[in-house]
Amino acid sequence: MARLLSLHDVHVRFNTAAGVVRAVSGVSLDLAVGETVGLVGESGCGKSTLGKAIMKLVPIAGGEIIVDGVDIAPLNRTELINMRRKVQMIFQDPYGSLNPRSTVGRSIAQPLVIAGWKPDATAERVETLLRWVGLPADAKQRYPHEFSGGQRQRIGIARALALSPKLIICDEPVSALDVSVRAQVINLLEDLKTQFGVSYLFISHDLSVVEHIADRVAVMYLGTIVEAGGRDQIWRSPQHPYTKALLAAAPIANPRAARARQRTVLQGELPSALDPPTGCPFHSRCPIAQDRCKMDKPALRPVGGGALAACHFV
């Protein structure tokens, strides 16, 4: 399969008053055409920053980000606008990402206007987009505050779809939604994928949602990928101790299964990215850490079944 997105050793750093935050340190990841890759991890692991880096919304400190064959690092403003036709993003808080003083129609039309579409064609396209995401045609004259959270997320999706992107980066798109509405939006994303062949990088802390939607999964911890592989592979036989701990911590919506499972609750919390541990980033919480883990940072390497893990002991 053709590669739509290739990340090689990507680094993102932020200079803050308290020091340098290494939000993403050395991430490599591929995404094929038509694939959904889930990016999971807890708050502060760098998953959203990585998503923004692919849009070039944060400064890239090192590495290569190749979108559809083009390295985005050296692109100028005009070239970047062209690149962003191929990659769009939807966000967790659809209200915060829509202009409250702009009608829904204008918000959805914005990318088309920037791309130089004529008014007639734009109006027609907006109506088509609203239909695709299941909103009534009169929605275009209304304002974001008139819509519920789920409807606003549909508006965000319509805007992301406007220029027929090849890749949509979904940053926690359903985390703020209620259960029944969350299912509606997940189903919509899957329908759009089938219909238009769009690929997703699906960023989420919710493992059950990622298991449902992703073909492949990458697990992040403190700015690095600690394990990556096919969805079934990861869920059936997780290799990295952090992946195991994450899966064990996720609640199961089945009381008998929940009671039956033996689980060890991971102790401690995510260390600060300002002062990450030396060696393996996970060693301070790892149940199987040895002295070596405090010094040597393990590299991602094949662990069978097409999966990769960064641990000295798997």
């Binding site: 064990a248 919506a253 991971l266 919390e269």
Partner: protein, 331 residues
């Protein structure tokens, strides 16, 4: 002996410029010692307002308790004065909230906040209260408890703030604890830590707990019994096993179907519930769930189903579910 908490026909109405809204409409529930009852439903179904009504923490206006009783260890607290309630809150009934950062006082140290609870409700002197505060922090698994006493909330992580909230809530060993989405804002590994902590504290002290959540995974992990709410009313109640094995109300079935189950074979689609929770000032006539219900019948749009007991140990407010259990003609 009286149950720790018995609520009968609790009704809270919001009096607003846009009219009266029945936010909680005739809610009954009871919680035994050592039992966890989960209160489940989507935003706006009245879960949190029910909890705040029980605690008598709702601002009047606009909210007013218009009916029902809340018996705490056998005593009705609905008619008590605010002064009497101040004694009871924190002493007999404690509450923890979703957002621990904004529930703690940002300009007071952890010690000061826990000591305040202890000094209000007990005879402990300053030094003894400080010592007890440290013990409580250790009990809730605060790393480096002694040093955290002098910390301010902004110096702690979300998980640690929630531990402080829990320490404050259990400081006086209340017989009832209400936890309102206590882990929703936390990461999954920290959520597991907090759930395990609550379970342990509850088992050790035999507390009755109401656990409010929208997350069915968390329900399955923590609850003994489940009360499902929709548009301010209880629509189903069952033991956690019965509820997940065979939900009777179509709304419960919809919630379970809409939740992806880890480890299950990937279904092509999640079962979604069309539409959304209706606003309280525009409830449909008849059953509030009828416009979204896959099993809706003519009768549901005219008449509101009351709770019935179709089979022992279960309650459901649904005509379709009643019909399933009705004796067949000629049988």
């Amino acid at each position: 002996m009286a149950l720790p908490l018995e609520v009968r026909g609790l009704s809270t109405t919001l009096f607003t410029r846009r009219g009266e809204m029945k936010a909680v409409d005739g809610l009954s529930l009871s919680v035994g010692a050592g039992e966890t009852v989960a209160l489940v439903g989507e935003s706006g179904c009245g879960k949190s307002l029910s909890a705040l009504s029980i605690m008598r923490l709702l601002p009047d206006p606009p909210a007013r308790l218009v009916g029902g009783e809340v018996k705490l260890n056998g005593r009705d607290i609905v008619t008590l004065t605010e002064e009497a309630m101040l004694d009871i809150r924190g002493q007999e009934i404690g509450m923890i909230f979703q957002d621990p950062m904004s529930s703690l006082n940002p300009v007071a140290t952890v010690e000061k906040q826990i000591v305040e609870v202890l000094r209000t409700h007990t005879d402990l002197g300053r030094a003894a209260a400080r010592e007890r505060a440290r013990e409580l922090l250790e009990l809730v698994g605060m790393p480096d408890a002694g040093r955290r006493l002098d910390a301010y909330p902004h110096q702690l992580s979300g998980g640690m703030c929630q531990r402080v909230m829990i320490a404050m809530a259990i400081a006086c060993s209340p017989s009832v604890l209400i936890a309102d989405e206590p882990t929703t804002a936390l990461d999954v590994t920290v959520q597991a830590q907090v759930l395990a902590l609550l379970k342990k504290l509850q088992t050790d002290a035999g507390m009755a707990m109401i656990f409010i959540t929208h997350d069915l995974g968390v329900v399955a992990e923590t609850a003994d019994r489940v009360v499902v709410m929709y548009a301010g009313r209880k629509v189903e109640e069952a033991s956690v096993d019965d509820l997940f094995d065979a939900p009777l109300h179509p709304y419960t079935a919809g919630l379970i179907g809409a939740t992806p189950t880890p480890g299950a074979a990937r279904a092509a689609r999640l079962a979604d519930i069309p539409g959304m929770v209706p606003p309280l000032n525009a409830l449909p006539a008849g059953c509030a769930f009828a416009p979204r219900c896959p099993r809706v019948m003519e009768r549901c749009r005219r008449e509101r189903p009351e709770l019935s007991r179709p089979t022992p140990g279960r309650l459901v407010a649904c005509f379709a579910a009643e019909k399933d259990f009705a004796p067949k003609d000629g049988a």
